[in-house]
Symmetry: C2
Subunit: 349 residues, 2 copies
């Protein structure tokens, strides 16, 4: 039986949900997936860090009180986040990176990924920063070191948009995509269709926990822009940087605009998209678009996300599902680990 | 460079579209997919058959006049469909089965698949009959012979519903699915929402080529029932036969029902579904269902198909796309061949 040793970097909701899944499902995975997971290290800015080379109790970790330095209470624990020690010295096969996204320079997550890959460890991450800002470098490093670098959860949480396009649509010749890629802004637009003004709709999203105290990154399209870079580089083999993607948000839309669209049988959506043109060039944007009600993305409501791929052989294929959520995003990490397992199994055959 | 030799069984629109793709894209596939395809045999009830072990010209085949016995004009051709000779003797690595679906006993397609698998050849098919009626036997035979048996195109043409669920949703613990799986009946319902009566809507579908002269299999749910059996057995590890799936169609729906639904913010859809219950039992049905407008399948209009999977870790993930079309279905065959190539590459590493 294959067992993978994990180091969890960042222990917010996502990696905590992964620990919970490990506590509940390891036995089931043994037969269903052909492997089990063991947590051998954990580091978190707030909680501190712990190394346990023989395996830490996933259930204890999942139930850890949200108290500063709480990991110091465990055997092998420290009040400080000893990131480098945990990544490099705890003997993990796979580094599970789920810290916050830094949209400016992708740090410190990018350094975490780099340390791990340089040390010959596989990396799975849900973090948009390292992929959108340093994806080409990190992918090349992973190839050079013959390890995996997987990031399904960086776009649409566990809804398998990257793997769908890369595996199941292989050979279809994808030429572009359009997506509803930010649940907060889509929730705001859906609320405005129900009659709320922009500011009220944002307040409602904040009350429900969909929007941050500062909603700028969501409603002005900055979050979507990172996802467009990730998808375009992955699926269209583009070499985009963030500044290549034109970006405007939804804050300029009025209730009048929304109502006028309704009367015309259409809806406003914040659309992130990229397209390969006949000359091989690729353009990409984030902008509010007026979609007719029969457009495959028009009916994507509330906090749901969706991407519609256009390919030469299939026309439009659309996948929709959760774009956030702790367990849903933890599934993305599991899905990445399954992919690593399959590729290791291939190389051992 | 890997080259796969194909025998095409049945030469209606789908295999003809595949021949066209081979004629146009073989060079591109060499770099993009790592293999090329060569047609070494073809057999069709109407056109006759031909064997060309050194390779037949895909472009000539794609342009073949639709004249009875036309293949006899080619070198190595015969006015008769010498199915057994083509499958067993033309030296094909992969048999590409795309004959008509026989919903009663799955013949003659099932025998074609069986001959090929028994002879150690891979089989790809778009045919619902062999999978829905004899899937367990044929899958077991393929495993025993260490060859592949792939059938992405048997449900939703090239929209990758089977591969999405099997690969990208692996580990999510799928517990059920609901689908809009028949383009004709969905087109009829969408037309009725536009004010046409049932009979008028069926006539319109026939005029546009969506519906057969006898629309029974589409509008009474028999076509969907086969697809429910295929998906349930594939994704829920069910052991369903066709008679396990309760089935009622849309012919009993009146314009009044459709209008009443509209007033209530809902829509009627013909839904094929299956669900695993807490006790492990699986129930499956085909029936018209009233879906609220915010249901992920409510907005699937016209001839589009969609499936919504429910899983323990992700909730609902929905994929929509073409459910028919010659090139779209030919892509399903290509996608199956890509999958075979990957599994062969794995075994050779």
């Amino acid at each position: 039986m294959t067992e993978y040793k994990l180091a969890l970097v960042g222990f917010g909701g996502v990696n905590r949900a992964l620990a919970q899944l490990i506590a509940e499902r390891n036995e089931q995975w043994k037969t269903e997936l052909g492997f089990t997971l063991k947590i051998v290290g954990l580091t978190d800015l707030f909680l501190g860090s712990v190394i346990g080379r023989e395996g830490l109790d996933a259930n204890v970790l999942a139930q850890l009180p949200a108290v500063k330095g709480a990991l110091a209470q465990l055997s092998g624990g420290d009040v400080t986040a000893l990131n480098e020690a945990v990544i490099k010295d705890c003997g993990a096969d796979i580094i599970v990176e789920a810290t916050f996204t830094n949209p400016v320079d992708g740090e410190p997550a990018t350094s975490f990924c780099r340390w791990a890959l340089e040390g010959g460890q596989h990396v799975v991450t849900t973090n948009k920063g390292p992929i959108a800002l340093h994806g080409a470098e990190l992918k090349a490093l992973a190839r050079r070191k013959h390890v995996a670098f997987e990031y399904e959860g960086s776009v649409m949480s566990g809804t398998p948009v990257i793997r769908l396009a890369r595996q199941a649509l292989a050979g279809s010749s994808i030429v572009g995509f359009e997506g509803v890629l930010n649940g907060t802004s889509n929730f705001v637009l859906t609320s405005m269709e129900g009659g709320l003004g922009f500011a009220e709709a944002v307040s409602k999203a904040q009350e429900l926990g969909y929007a941050e105290a500062d909603p700028t990154a969501d409603v002005e399209g900055h979050d979507v822009r990172l996802k467009v870079v990730i998808l375009a580089n992955e699926l269209l083999d583009a070499k985009l940087t963030v500044s290549d993607v034109t970006c405007s948000g939804i804050s300029s839309l009025s209730l009048g605009d929304i109502e006028k669209a309704r009367q015309d049988g259409a809806r406003w959506k914040l659309i992130g998209s990229a397209m390969r043109h006949a000359d091989g060039s690729i353009s990409a944007s984030v902008e509010p678009r007026l979609l007719n009600n029969d457009h495959p993305l028009a009916s994507v409501g509330g906090a749901t996300n969706a991407v519609s791929f256009t390919s030469e052989l299939l026309g439009a294929v659309t996948v929709s599902g959760p774009g956030a959520g702790r367990t849903e995003t933890a599934f993305a990490l599991l899905s990445d680990i399954i992919s690593i397992h399959q590729s290791i199994a291939r190389n051992q055959e």
